[in-house]
Amino acid sequence: MTTLLAAFDLLLSLTLLGLAVAALTSAEPRRGVILFIAFGLLLALVWARLRAPDLALAEAAIGAGLSGALMLAAARRARRRRSPETAPRPSEEQP
């Protein structure tokens, strides 16, 4: 049982590290935010494994849920703001 738990912890930590690197290095903001949400949910599991249920609750609700929703909205707005510069507006294409 303990070896199984240790293997689970190891897998959890490695996945967490991998997700962190993937979230930080992703070129597209939206993709990075989604990876960050997955990271937050796994981090909540880590807090639960460390016997800190209060932190697990807060991390799942605030860290993954609400921060994720806020950052998704921010990514959407950033893309909308950036797109007029990179691509010509549809109204300008069709006079």
Binding site: P53, D54, A56, L57, A58, A61, I62, G65, L66, A69, L70, A73, R77
Partner: protein
């Protein structure tokens, strides 16, 4: 130059931080074995008015920290409001999502109340309960309710500062009574903590939902205009 920073300096800095963390962990686990602060704090939890050690730390031992956290949230919301008017919300959702939201929002509000009450003796508390309220607001915003369940502008402003306001009023009232700022008298600690947590829950929920909606709240006179 950028390559030097990102391939040499950055990894070296990360390794240095990891070294400091490992060193701190080593010291914390093998350091002196005398009476630690945790034992002292845990022994006096029954006097704090709540039996959940986490809540006793957040709202009694280190109430200042929680007050400042609420102030940070308020400052973040003011920053978001100062960025200009809100973006247009989502279009109204189809019936299935509307029906689901109509079921979920009351459940989330009930769960928030439960979380607030249960925080006295089990995992839970103001921040988790406030996050549930905020999630209800986010859900309403996603389903296309333009107000995201938030009240009109004057009430919204009052609710946003409610946490800091109740916290400061309780602290000042205790000072008037001759105790220290946020030094609860033993018999009243439970009810004062509950009062502060209720205000904080409402404030956190409103702050998070308003942050998701983004933009300055429309004044009552402007709100009528399309």
């Amino acid at each position: 130059m950028t390559r030097f920073v990102s391939w040499v300096l950055l990894p070296l800095g990360l390794v240095a931080i990891a070294g400091v963390l490992v060193w701190a962990f080593y010291l914390a686990t093998t350091g002196e074995t005398g009476a630690r602060l945790a034992d002292l704090a845990l022994a006096r939890v029954p006097e704090t008015g709540v039996s959940n050690p986490v809540t006793s730390v957040l709202l009694n031992y280190r109430a200042y920290d929680t007050l400042l956290e609420l102030a940070v949230l308020l400052a973040a919301l003011l920053g978001i409001w100062s960025l200009g008017p809100a973006a247009p919300g989502f279009q109204r959702a189809a019936e299935v999502l509307q029906g689901m939201v109509a079921w979920f929002v009351p459940l989330l509000i009930l769960a928030a109340g439960h979380m607030l009450w249960v925080g006295a003796y089990a995992p839970g508390g103001a921040f988790q309960a406030g996050a549930l309220l905020g999630a209800a607001g986010v859900m309403l915003a996603l389903a296309g309710h333009p107000s995201a369940g938030l009240p009109s502008e004057p009430v919204l402003r009052l609710l946003a500062i409610l946490g800091v306001l109740v916290f400061c009023l309780v602290g000042l009232a205790l000072m008037v009574l001759g105790l220290g700022f946020l030094t609860y008298p033993p018999g009243m600690a439970k009810w004062l903590i509950l009062l502060i947590e209720t205000g904080a829950t409402l404030a956190i929920g409103v702050t998070l939902a308003a942050a998701y909606r983004g933009g300055r709240p429309a004044r009552a006179s402007e709100g009528a205009a399309p």
